[in-house]
Each structure stands twice: as structure tokens, then as C-alpha cells.
Symmetry: C2
Subunit: 365 residues, 2 copies
């Protein structure tokens, strides 16, 4: 491939297939589909996730929300607890699209929203973030205080209560597909259990929104939920395939790199893809402590007997029995495609071996 390295390669046909499969599963399950766009951050793949349309999406930054809104997406969930200082920006966007859902998980945040809305004679669409066991953000679904917060949100004049949202990020710590299935069951059951608590307080029919790529990938059908929000599944990565959330042939992305140093005497080579071309994510390391910084393949994506053992800013160090000579192209399947994709201004889009397009992701916050 005659492009400067390092380069981020996206196999369009695999992305398409991943998009079709997840969307079909949501449709067959009869639930709402609001895929996350944070992994790819491109309009092109946002549309592929909806079979060409511009359906509901989930974003991780206000910059993504504005970028997709500017392209015509009108129904967006900003799935990160909102910083109070971002409320003016969120309200400005909400005013020009059909729906911007924001996320809160505390009385403090509810009061900030109420104060803002009172001052601006506005009301915002809000999901309550629930902790299904990941213990990052979210309220405890078994704590009566959490139910009281849900009721307070539902009664607040500043808020249109849109439902409960959770993310089973702890599925990334699983060891196999069976363990992911157990976490998937917790993810859905925690919201259903919490909804029952709220129903006891007189609030019925609350929407439940779930989603992580591992949990949404391993189940055959979506039950006991109303909406799913996976994101990484468009690309997958070395981690997801090691974990069992996909097969290796489902992984749509790789970094093209060039061998710039070859040291057979110490069984090592240096490539021109370092921490800024790959990110320093080592996520499969709980499954294989020596996994390294990505899966080393030849240009045809055949895995090699090699480990990417160290990254500095622009250098990657490979350990392998027979390092290839200077000038050889390799492909590194990234550990965590979300973080690797974000390092690039443009993606080189493949159809088979041919580069057929360039896609440009949004960046920043």
C-alpha cells in the first residue's frame, strides 16, 4: 500500500457487516437502537450503523454531538454525566435538533440543571445514570435514595425524564464469553430491578437503556431492555477478539507500519508506529500479561510470531525470532480501536486491498 506510515486502515466491508449484524439483532429484538459513535467519530460510519440513515445515536463529547448534529443527526444522547458548565452548550444544541438527552447521577447535578433551566426558561431531556456493577459513574440501583432521585427528576419542571441508562464497562474485565453473558444479565437485571423500585413509588413505564460491545455482542437477542447503545462493535479490536466478543476476522481496523530498524542478533525490530500511532492501551493484559501493545501481523493480516513489547512516542519495539528487514510493511491490530482511531486525522478506507476513500473523524471536546 503506497501511503505514508503510520496509517489507520479501515476495512469498509467488515465495518458494514458488523453494522448490519448489530442493527439486525436490535430490530429482531424489537427494541430501540442508539449506537455509540465515539469509536469511529465519522459521519460515514454513523450512517452505516443505521443502514444509511441518520437514526438515534450516542456520543461521548459535546464536540461529537455538534459534529453529528451539523451533519443532520437529530436524536442524540450525550452519555457522560454532564459538567454543570456544559449546560449552556447542551441547551443551545438541544434547541436546534429534535432531542438531546443529557445524563446525570446526583442531586447536585439535578439542582444544577434546575437552576440553569429556571434562569433560561428551558427544560432538558435527562437520563439517570445507573451503576450496574462497573462502579464508574451512576447511582446504586438497590439504594432507596436512588429511587428518590429518579422520582425527583421525574417531577422536576426543569426536566423531561427520559429513563435509566447503564453501561457494563466491567464486561471488559471478563475472561471469556460465558463471564460476559453473566455480566450482560446483570446489566439488564439491574435496570429492571431499579425500575421496579421506582414503580413502587408510582412511576411506571420508565425506559431502560443498556450497552457495551462485549455484552451486546455475546447475547443472541436483547431481552429485558428497551434500548441498546454499543459502539466499539463497528471496528472491534485485538482486545475484543481475545475476550471472545468477536472473532479475529470481525476486526475491521489495523495500523500500517514500516520496519525502520531490524536487529536479528537480539531478536528485535523497530517500527514507525509508537504511542502516538497506537495509544498505550494494554487491555488484553488480564488475559495474557505478555500480550503487548497490539497484535503484530503481516500485510495480509496473518498474525506473526512477534510481540509489540514497548512503545515510545514514535517507535514501537517488536520482539520476534526472525525480524524482517528495514522497509517491510506490517499491520498492527490495535488493542483498543477507540483510542487508536482517535490518534488519526484521517482513516484510509479499504475495499479488499485497495484504498478507496478517506474518512475524517471529529476530534477534541
Amino acid at each position: 500500500m503506497n501511503i505514508p506510515t503510520p496509517a489507520f486502515l479501515v476495512d469498509r466491508n467488515i465495518v458494514e457487516q458488523n453494522c448490519v449484524r448489530m442493527r439486525a439483532k436490535a430490530q429482531a429484538s424489537g427494541i430501540a437502537f442508539r449506537p455509540h459513535v465515539k469509536t469511529h467519530k465519522t459521519i460515514e460510519i454513523g450512517r452505516m450503523q443505521h443502514g444509511g440513515g441518520m437514526g438515534p445515536i450516542t456520543v461521548s463529547t459535546m464536540a461529537e454531538a455538534e459534529f453529528f448534529a451539523n451533519a443532520g443527526f437529530v436524536d442524540i444522547t450525550y452519555a457522560m454525566p454532564i459538567a454543570p458548565e456544559k449546560l449552556p452548550r447542551a441547551a443551545a444544541l438541544a434547541a436546534r435538533i429534535e432531542r438531546l438527552n443529557i445524563l446525570i447521577d446526583s442531586v447536585t447535578a439535578l439542582h444544577a440543571v434546575e437552576e440553569f433551566c429556571a434562569a433560561h426558561d428551558d427544560a432538558l431531556d435527562v437520563f439517570l445514570k445507573v451503576d450496574c456493577g462497573y462502579h464508574r459513574a451512576g447511582v446504586d440501583p438497590d439504594d432507596p435514595d436512588s429511587a428518590r432521585l429518579a422520582i425527583a427528576i421525574s417531577k422536576s419542571p426543569a426536566v423531561h425524564f427520559q429513563g435509566l441508562l447503564t453501561h457494563a464497562g466491567h464486561s471488559y474485565n471478563a475472561h471469556d464469553a460465558d463471564e460476559i453473558r453473566r455480566i450482560a444479565a446483570e446489566e439488564t437485571s439491574s435496570l429492571t430491578r431499579f425500575r421496579a423500585l421506582i414503580e413502587n413509588e408510582g412511576l411506571a413505564g420508565v425506559v431502560r437503556s443498556i450497552g457495551s460491545t462485549p455484552t451486546t455482542s455475546v447475547v443472541e437477542t436483547f431481552t429485558d431492555t428497551d434500548e441498546v447503545r454499543p459502539g466499539n462493535y463497528v471496528f472491534f479490536d485485538a482486545f475484543q477478539s481475545t475476550l471472545g466478543a468477536c472473532t479475529f476476522k470481525d476486526v475491521a481496523v489495523s495500523v500500517l507500519a514500516t520496519v525502520v530498524g531490524s536487529y536479528p542478533e537480539r531478536g528485535e525490530a523497530i517500527i514507525d508506529a509508537g504511542a502516538l500511532a497506537l495509544s498505550k492501551d494494554t487491555s488484553p493484559d488480564h488475559l495474557d500479561p505478555n500480550f503487548g501493545y497490539g497484535l503484530v501481523c503481516d500485510v495480509s493480516l496473518n498474525p506473526l510470531d512477534a510481540r509489540l513489547v514497548a512503545l515510545s512516542q514514535e517507535h514501537g519495539k517488536l520482539r520476534m525470532p526472525a525480524p524482517p528487514p528495514v522497509g517491510t510493511h506490517l499491520r498492527i491490530v490495535p488493542n483498543h480501536s477507540c483510542l487508536t482511531a482517535a490518534m488519526y486525522d484521517r482513516y484510509h478506507v479499504l475495499d479488499g486491498d485497495a484504498i478507496v476513500d478517506e474518512w475524517r473523524p471529529v476530534r477534541g471536546w
Copy 2:
């Protein structure tokens, strides 16, 4: 500070002081000063490194080389073993500035340069990369084959041999300033020893170029070398201050973040700075396995009793006895400022507490 978070803050006065100190040391030592610009990637700081001028610099990508050349820098070392496919681009740049030094460390690379130069009736300025113990790139200084390669380079009609270049990246694995000093001594002595080998073959007066921020920071004066190329010293970071290469007050950069979730019952908080705002570098972990993903400070840069224990794409998880409420601003001193700075399109420049400017780094390759 009334700016959207996460934001990358650069204290201009500290950068200035770091720049002045390193440049003065090089001048007092009577050696050439060719600072690296890969840490900051901005024209503004490139000039500060030379007291306002546009002196010799070192770069890690061809994109940096072209960006600084376009701004008027005319003497550049591209300090990464060159991929043969990048030779046309390097030659095109070399033709429009006074000097572009490229780097090789193998007979294969020399042949690639010779083949290119023969086909284009050109000659390129070349440094030979030497391994002073880091074992990333470079030839073994004690191997007679390495001396033969140096002689072959010096005799090649395709090449103007510019000297020997090494980088003591293993100083980052040191445990204290004394260990860094020992590595600094190896860094210089390896080139001096190798130069003696070459002199035995009849090639005298070869330039020796060294440089890593730890090794150039801990020595009082530069001896036994001809040129230094530090880079990270403009910013420093939590790692350099933990290692003893600088003091905490020498660190010029931090990431401004907002608390978006606060969970006193489990002693945790979530900030809106995750892997894309900080990078997942954990470099001080050989000194403190629980160091985490950056040093957590209040807005006045007082370190807090808190650890940044996990990063996902846009979330950072803090563990601390009394997590502050939602909406609180914190500052995270990054572990590795080179990688963190590269995540931002713009730096917010501080003079004291006031934001006085925005600087825009070059990006990509």
C-alpha cells in the same frame, strides 16, 4: 478558569525558565544545542528553546520537520531511523532548507539511501544511530561491524556523514538522580568509545550527539560530547519530577478537568478527562506501582490525597477520601507530557492564573 474542560494548560513562565536553563547549560558547556521539539510541537516553544531564534532543532516526524521548516527553521535532524519510502519526502525538504539530517543504523538503510541518491543525483546528510544501552534503535558501539558501517557511510558518495547520534531512553527506567547520572555517563562514553574505534579506521573528528531529558537535566555541565538534543525538559511532567530529573515546580503543564460524578460512599469521583485527554501512560509505575494515570491537584496545583486509578475513553476515576462535589475543577499533572500534549489541538497558555494565548501544535506524520 472559564474554558471548556478537558483543556491543556501551559505555564509560559515555567516553559521560559526551563528553556533558558537548558540553553544556558549548553552554551556554558561550549557545545551545539539542537533541542527536540516533539514534546510541544509548536513554533512558539521552538523559538523559546533558542531564546527567540530559529536555531537547530530535532524532530520525531516528517510532519514536524515540514511544519518547522515552513515557519523558517532551516537546520533540522529527523531523529528516527528513516523508512526507505520516506526518502523522497526527506530529499524534497532537504532541498529547500539549509540542512536536514536523517538517521540510519543498518547496511540495508545505507543501501536504500544510496539507491535513492543514485537515481536522483542527490546526496543526503546522515547521522549513524548508536545504541548506548537503551536497546531500541542503533548499532552496538563495541561491535567492529558498527565501525565498518560508519566507515562505509563516510565513504559513500550518496551521503554527507554528519556524525553519531544516541539517546539514553533507558534513563526513564532509573530510580533516582544518581542512577540517571550513571546512565548519562554511559551515554557519552559509548559515543566516545565508538568514535575511537572509528578513528582507528582512519576517520577522525566525528561529531557526537546525545540527549534525553533525564540525562541532560541531572548533569551540571556537558562534557565529552559535541551536541545535546533534550526535548521533554520544556514541559517536564509528573514522571520527570518523580524520577528526580526536575522539581515539581519545574513542571509547566497540567490538564484542567471537571468533576462530573462524586461518590463519597465509595471514596471515588469521576472527572471528564479520560484516556483521550491524558493518554494511558503510567510511566512512574516502576517507582510507585500505585502512581496511577497522573498527579491529581486542586486548581492551584496543590497535590491532593487522591489517585487517578482508571481511565476509559472520556472518564477518569479518582480514588480519594473526600471526593469533591460535581462541578469542581481539578488539575491533573500528566505522567508523560509528550503524549498528553499530542492529544490537544490547542494549548491554553497561562501567565500566572490568566489565559493569555493559544498555541497550536502540529499533528500526525
